[in-house]
Symmetry: C2
Subunit: 105 residues, 2 copies
């Protein structure tokens, strides 16, 4: 399973990020074909109480690397990627991961 | 749903990290009670081809914040947290996240 993890750094204006992200960006991202699971996460704290470099994370799952590449190269994938610049004022890092679920109950 | 995301920075010796992580650490982490989903991810690349600050990520899911706190405070949770120092030579960042699955097919 291939997972694209997006790490959104702290934005300049969290309220503006939040509105755009929920109302506009996630509906655009949900149009990407081949997306098997789309999970969005808001960081509440770090475990040691230190400030978090990141504000939100998102995880987009695909069957395999070919499916991810096809999805990201599609018009819907390009639209979702291009939209990131419209709200991620702190920047975004995208990690391409090989993932395994070891337990799920 | 509460997710604890662990970002493992690039270790000094990736092969040693990998052996310890798979053979010793994940079995310790799997003993944590209240863990609903445990996903491990190896970073293959970044989307833009830049070097990745992180080597691996792990995602530990719990029903809610109270369940996560209970799990991390248990002997099994403390053992798993204490074990991180035995292999994460590049350090580890732990993010406590409020997560939502928007699509799963």
């Amino acid at each position: 399973m291939i997972k694209l993890t997006v790490l959104y750094a702290q934005p300049k204006d969290a309220a503006a990020f939040e509105r755009y992200y929920i109302d506009i960006h996630t509906p655009i991202a949900l149009k990407v074909k081949g997306l098997r699971r789309f999970e969005i996460s808001k960081i509440a704290a770090t475990a040691d109480g230190s400030p978090s470099r990141y504000y939100r994370t998102a995880d987009l799952y695909f069957d395999d690397m070919a499916a991810m590449q096809k999805a990201l190269g599609s018009p819907e994938g390009r639209a979702a990627a291009a939209d990131i610049a419209n709200f991620a004022s702190g920047g975004a890092t995208m990690l391409i991961c090989e993932s395994q679920v070891l337990s799920s109950i």
